[in-house]
């Protein structure tokens, strides 16, 4: 991360501590997760103790404190999605990837994560990958979705970026 980026973020706030969440997002994007080194570095930069940074990192669901797959598949299991079959989708996804929720595939590509309402209930059951929403996803769509995500990961060596209706 460049000094310029950090300065740009700091300039938005009268109090530098406000830059903590934005900086944690950026560091996580770069490193994949928030390492102890990153936490100490952020603490030094923002005039906080490492504990103050760590308590924030552990409070929010999106921050990872250990490595995961290159692609996190978020499956909503809240009410609107559950009503329309989210549990079947999760089961099918676990079968298709051969891992359980919270685990990462041996090739390091995917981690399945149960998440709370993604504010996309009109697409229920909803899956989110990076910025993209997929839905309504039925259990029988899961194989195709995984194939699509895998191809995008392998081809581009980047995050897949092609959401849409299935």
């Amino acid at each position: 991360m460049t000094e310029e980026t950090i300065q740009h973020i700091l300039s938005r706030y009268p109090d530098r501590r406000s830059a903590l969440l934005p900086l944690m997002h950026l560091y996580q994007e770069e490193a994949g997760y928030l390492t102890e080194e990153i936490i100490s570095q952020l603490a030094g930069r923002l005039g906080l103790t490492p504990t103050q940074v760590a308590e924030v990192a552990t409070f929010y669901d999106m921050f990872r404190l250990k490595p995961g797959g290159r692609c996190e598949i978020w499956v909503c299991h809240n009410l609107s999605c559950a009503l329309l079959g989210a549990e079947q989708v999760i089961r099918r996804l676990e079968e298709a990837l051969g891992v359980s929720v919270g685990e990462t595939t041996p090739d390091g590509l995917f981690t399945i994560k149960r998440v709370e309402c993604l504010a996309a209930c009109g697409l229920a059951p909803t899956i989110q990958v990076g910025p993209d929403y997929y839905g309504p996803v039925s259990a029988k769509d899961v194989g195709e979705l995984v194939a699509r995500l895998r191809k995008a990961l392998v081809d581009s060596n980047q995050q897949p970026a092609s959401g849409g209706r299935l």
């Binding site: 938005r12 009268p14 109090d15 501590r17 406000s18 830059a19 903590l20 969440l21 934005p22 944690m24 997002h25 923002l46 308590e55 924030v56 409070f59 929010y60 669901d61 999106m62 921050f63 978020w74 299991h77 809240n78 009410l79 609107s80 559950a82 009503l83 329309l84 079959g85 549990e87 079947q88 999760i90 089961r91 929720v101 149960r114 998440v115 709370e116 309402c117 993604l118 504010a119 996309a120 209930c121 009109g122 697409l123 229920a124 989110q128 990076g130 910025p131 993209d132």
Partner: protein, 437 residues
């Protein structure tokens, strides 16, 4: 079909919400007009007279909220747009941001002018990455045209506007938790008073307004307070962008006069029930509110009517459930959510949400005891009105309502030692290995 206001542009073929498209359809005329014709006081008065009430959940009158801000021009003040949309069943702010970001930005300009602030933040939920990118681009475009930044439209009003991403915490939709989060801390709600109007972001006077609330402002300025208050009824004015999900034929957002009937919303706009099934239950305002049933279908969706019916208008997230739905399972899912999202500050909420979930799960799995129903009500009673923020009440009230209307279903689970719905409905069945606690 009644007139749409906030979502009217969505119907223009090919409309993508760019600055050019927004301006070509009357966009940024309201801020131009307001800077010419209004003082902050007259704009605040206009919004107060319009009767606009907050669309985030609490329904507090927007103009009155602005009126609490100290008038001292030397005191820094902040406007924060609450785009942390996380109330289960609610997805209207996401659509308003994705499809017409400049409508929101113009609303933010108007509110900032009215309260006299020079810096505003949009606090957007962290998962909504696409929305944050769209807003950042829209702000850059508006700034390039002199609509955001210094000396807006050549006048003396200036506003810096920044997008700030959350990181996955429902509680940050509560305004004081949101402010803590924006200050780089854990999202722990603050004890009130002091209210944000006197001591908010960085302990300075702050207004927190929801995306939909702010998106109404350009229309009120252009068409007048009287026009706005003529829609709906005297206490709940304007339209509401309802999010309808669950077992309906056409889930989606529907903008209707705020006092539309539940029946019209579900059966005309959202297409009625799927697969010809019968309606069993409706959660009318996001998962935090009490459930209603078929007998309430003619209830109107405004704040007062839903309160009279024993529920709340909340966030306008309408979750519709058909006859195949197990209400114990609904309780299990809903209580799991609040248990996960409780910030842990208050004992009643931290412990209560866990007990509710544990007890409901036990009943759903056929391990319930007869005493569990009274236990659930006792836990709810101990959770309500006793905590710093309303999350504890939001976790307890729905469960009480499920027991009120569907007690026999809970008893059946306990007597039969199994969920009577489990085997029948494929899409709703639980995984055999149970849920993570």
């Amino acid at each position: 079909m009644s007139e749409k206001i906030l979502t009217k542009r969505f119907e223009i073929p090919g409309y993508r919400g760019t600055l050019e498209e927004y301006e070509a359809t009357g966009g940024y005329q309201a801020i131009t007009k307001a800077l010419k014709e209004h003082t902050p006081a007259s704009l605040t008065e206009m919004v107060r007279r319009s009767g606009l009430r907050g669309r985030g959940g609490a329904g507090f009158p927007t103009g009155v909220k602005w009126g609490f801000i100290p008038k001292d021009p030397d005191l820094p003040k902040y406007l924060v747009c609450n785009a942390d949309e996380s109330e289960p069943g609610t997805f209207k702010d996401r659509e308003l941001i994705m499809r017409d970001p400049h409508q929101l930005i113009e609303g933010i300009l108007l509110a900032s002018f009215a309260i006299g602030c020079r810096t505003a933040y949009i606090y957007i939920r962290g998962e909504f990455i696409a929305g944050a990118c769209i807003l950042e681009q829209a702000i850059r475009d508006a700034a390039a045209r002199g609509l955001v930044g210094k000396d807006i439209l050549g006048g003396s009003f200036s506003l810096d506007l920044h997008v700030h991403r959350g990181a996955g915490a429902y509680i940050c939709g509560e305004e004081t938790a949101l402010l803590e989060s924006l200050e780089g801390k854990r999202g722990l709600p603050r004890l009130k008073p002091p209210f944000p109007a006197t001591s908010g972001l960085y302990r300075k006077p702050t207004v927190v307004n929801n995306v939909e609330t702010l998106s109404n402002l350009p229309h009120i300025v252009l068409r007048g307070a009287e026009w706005f208050s003529s829609i709906g009824n005297p206490k709940s004015t304007g339209t509401r962008v309802f999010s309808v999900s669950g077992h309906v034929r056409r889930p989606g957002i529907y903008e209707c006069p705020i006092n539309v009937s539940m029946r019209e919303l579900i059966f005309e706009h959202a297409g009625g029930m799927r697969d010809g099934r019968r309606l069993k239950a409706v959660i009318p305002g996001g998962s935090s509110v009490s459930v209603l049933t078929e007998q309430h279908l003619d209830t109107r969706m405004d704040f007062e009517s839903l309160a009279t019916a024993g529920s709340m208008a909340g966030s306008g997230g309408v979750i519709v459930m058909d006859e195949t739905t197990c209400m114990v399972r609904v309780g299990e899912v809903v209580s799991r959510f609040y248990h996960h999202e409780s910030c842990g500050q208050c004992t009643q909420c931290r412990e209560g949400t866990a007990w509710l979930h544990k007890t409901l799960r036990r009943i759903e799995e056929g391990r319930g005891r007869t005493a569990d129903l009274d236990l659930l009500l006792d836990i709810c009673d101990n959770m309500k009105g006793k905590t710093i923020c309303p999350l504890s009440d939001a976790a307890a009230m729905p469960i009480e309502s499920y027991l009120k209307y569907f007690r026999d279903e809970f008893e059946q689970h306990i007597v039969e030692r199994a969920c009577p719905f489990g085997a029948r409905v494929g899409a709703w069945a639980r995984p055999m290995n149970g849920f993570p606690a």
